[in-house]
Symmetry: C4
Subunit: 272 residues, 4 copies
Amino acid sequence: MRLFRCACHSGLSYWSNVARAPADVGGGTRALPRSGGPVDASVLHDLAAASRILADQGVVDAFGHVSMRHPSDPNRFLMSRSLAPALVTPDDIMEYDLDCDCVDAQGRGSFLERFIHGEIFRKRPDVMAVVHSHSPNVIPFGLIDTPMRAMFHNAAFVARGVPVFDIHEKFGATDMLVGNSEKGVALAEKLGDKDVMLMRAHGSVATGPSLPVAVFRAVYTEVNARLQFQTAMLAGGGNIAALDAEEGRLADEVNLKSSARAWDLWKRRVGF
Amino acid sequence: MRLFRCACHSGLSYWSNVARAPADVGGGTRALPRSGGPVDASVLHDLAAASRILADQGVVDAFGHVSMRHPSDPNRFLMSRSLAPALVTPDDIMEYDLDCDCVDAQGRGSFLERFIHGEIFRKRPDVMAVVHSHSPNVIPFGLIDTPMRAMFHNAAFVARGVPVFDIHEKFGATDMLVGNSEKGVALAEKLGDKDVMLMRAHGSVATGPSLPVAVFRAVYTEVNARLQFQTAMLAGGGNIAALDAEEGRLADEVNLKSSARAWDLWKRRVGF
Amino acid sequence: MRLFRCACHSGLSYWSNVARAPADVGGGTRALPRSGGPVDASVLHDLAAASRILADQGVVDAFGHVSMRHPSDPNRFLMSRSLAPALVTPDDIMEYDLDCDCVDAQGRGSFLERFIHGEIFRKRPDVMAVVHSHSPNVIPFGLIDTPMRAMFHNAAFVARGVPVFDIHEKFGATDMLVGNSEKGVALAEKLGDKDVMLMRAHGSVATGPSLPVAVFRAVYTEVNARLQFQTAMLAGGGNIAALDAEEGRLADEVNLKSSARAWDLWKRRVGF
Amino acid sequence: MRLFRCACHSGLSYWSNVARAPADVGGGTRALPRSGGPVDASVLHDLAAASRILADQGVVDAFGHVSMRHPSDPNRFLMSRSLAPALVTPDDIMEYDLDCDCVDAQGRGSFLERFIHGEIFRKRPDVMAVVHSHSPNVIPFGLIDTPMRAMFHNAAFVARGVPVFDIHEKFGATDMLVGNSEKGVALAEKLGDKDVMLMRAHGSVATGPSLPVAVFRAVYTEVNARLQFQTAMLAGGGNIAALDAEEGRLADEVNLKSSARAWDLWKRRVGF
């Protein structure tokens, strides 16, 4: 059986290579996935920090989650057990394969909506981290016909376009949750090659080529939504001089670097 | 005389079974109600926590109150003495019958509007907890003709409909308070079988099959109101893709379980 | 010379009865006013608390002030020296006559706009405390033609009407400050018999028959303004079911008592 | 080589007068600028405080910066190394000439947008301090045709007019950053003789004849923007009784003095 050990503030955590017995996962009996290999404690530490940063920045409340691709195995990802984001510690991080089966749950519960993460990681090899949230200013834009636009350079990634995933289109009336692979596939399909996506009457998804960038985008998607609300109200039906596509592309290149400054500040704020 | 003892962090609190002498209650002299029996300290602790959570989450300020049905007697309920919600401790919890007479006040004052709670508990056997608040984003929806709708899955209970109680309809010009049984009856009548209700120029009521669910609904009624404000503004007169009734029903089933995650987080935040 | 001694946490503070020499006040040389007599330390303590409460509740920032009529001399009032409200201590409280001359400044600076307070105390014997603030949600209502209305029972005093004082009407272009008696008189005139008043492009004034009630009204004027903003936006031009005059009158009677609950909570929050 | 020593809480910091070797700056090799001379530690302390105040007041988040002209050399200015504003200490302050070359970087990174500061200091001898921020309520006014107006006396400086700098006008599609002298010149040109300026899809600039006044203006530009949003919404297309030009001029004279009260409070809040 694989072991998950987190030696959080001092060294490496790792999974042993002992094969595990098959286990019951989500109905049928199938073999538990093998681990993608040991993960440095600093990685788990950063992922827990990301979770707390999102809470501290008002992007998540009691709900929402963040994941990252396994550093040494692109077919695995890391994500907390089912827990309020503000409470996540490195010890709560679990490993999943892209079918969202847990490598070694040790009796801990998984987020129902981990399929958002697994299917995006499967479809988008460039994505290294995913945030799912219900950040409040963003939700209105998933309920109306007005598309999100980039109100300032920090939200430059918005200029590439923000699709809206409506689970009702393909699945009819549901509990709104992306609670299985089929729904995750449809969601990842709708995301396409974009960086962020709205989910109708639910929330949103932000992705990035690194954990800090995904967190940065989740935060500034929320900020941008509040800005766009105010701007749209003030503009009436008039012109809004948002970033155009090329400005967005150029500004996002800078953000990919400058997001490190935000990451450092935000980590400090949550005491990590 | 009945005793109310709270052994808050270590064991059970209880009322003795000694009969009490009649006392003056609300004008006429009538016998004080008998207690519904001893209540576990953890219950009182949770009710005090609920009060503080509502303050911490911005649902109540100096005013507002939360109650729960007595665990072993459906004709009794528990509620703090008249006190700002952020200050409530287990020792402040008192027991009432459904006429809102206090079992053993010990000289402590009662909330004027306890009749909101008593009459809902009388009319709605399924309701186990009631929150009354003036949470700010909700109040506007009690003053206009636009009904509240569910903007996202966490507020799924809104999809069942949110009536508006206007005390003026039946009682003319008043001090706006539900300060006697007759007004409480009218309010409970208007609530019908719904989960939440607005009170014109006053506030709102949220109910639930458990204390954590009632608190969850009070919090997300407030969140939903803010979301609907922004969404309605952005939509102009256009379409809003809110939860439909069936989506609301399905999503609320999930919330009944996932509200525990919020409850655990919120309790920690207030140090309970 | 009069002495001002604050024995804040233990007993009485008092002014000695020694006559003072004439001093230069605001230009001409005239005799300094006599003190209205010693003031209990708890009064000074409460006035400092009021100042900090207003800061804690977001009614004042670095600017704004609160005063109360002298407990034993209706022709004197108490007010902090010129200082950010969050920093006021009992030792900062000074005594003024209704001409706004300080009894014993001891070199400490006075607020430029103390004439707001002095002239209201002169014209309105029923007013025992005055708050002047620039609380943000209120300011817009001083700039437009829409009158404030009472959105809920806690703001019942608004139902009596909220006049707008435009300093430009009588004084033309100024620095907007009520910096002398003449301007104070015009302001008090416009207030008339109302409880609160807006000041165009500046802020507002709240009064009350006691210090806690004036503070309560300052807080709920701000809350009500935010509520009215949202309600007016949602209503479009449609009906708003605000408190009517009689509801306002009845609800305000309750507030005069229940404001004590808010006062107790707010004092605790600021550690007083 | 020049030394920068900060003896922050006890005395003077200074640069030695030893000439430095030429260094590579921004492409070509040119001589490093000479220092404008030693700077009192209290000055560095205040500039670090300004940075933290702007963060505490919600004007800057992880981004934004504040600078001041060198006290004894008008051709030099002081500014933090590239760092989140909430983290700046006196030791992080560096000296630049008006070409934005650093006197003695000691390997520390410079803000990309220091040219905002350098070119304003060059063009405007009356300006002693500059704040650049992305404060959220201000951004919408850089995206629409509605000019900012002064909603109350604390924002009196707005009454002189607030130009909007659109980097696209002269430079086409860019990363939106004022990252070289040419762009800084265009920005300073657009500012003209005004106190504050918006930057389209980016943020704003506030200036002042002293550090506290520039900070005061940055804070109240943000406050005023929120007020104008609400006022404009409530007014519909109707009249807004904003400060007129003469009222603005007169009120600003008062602010130049009263801003000290805000500065003292704000410094205390950040523990400086």
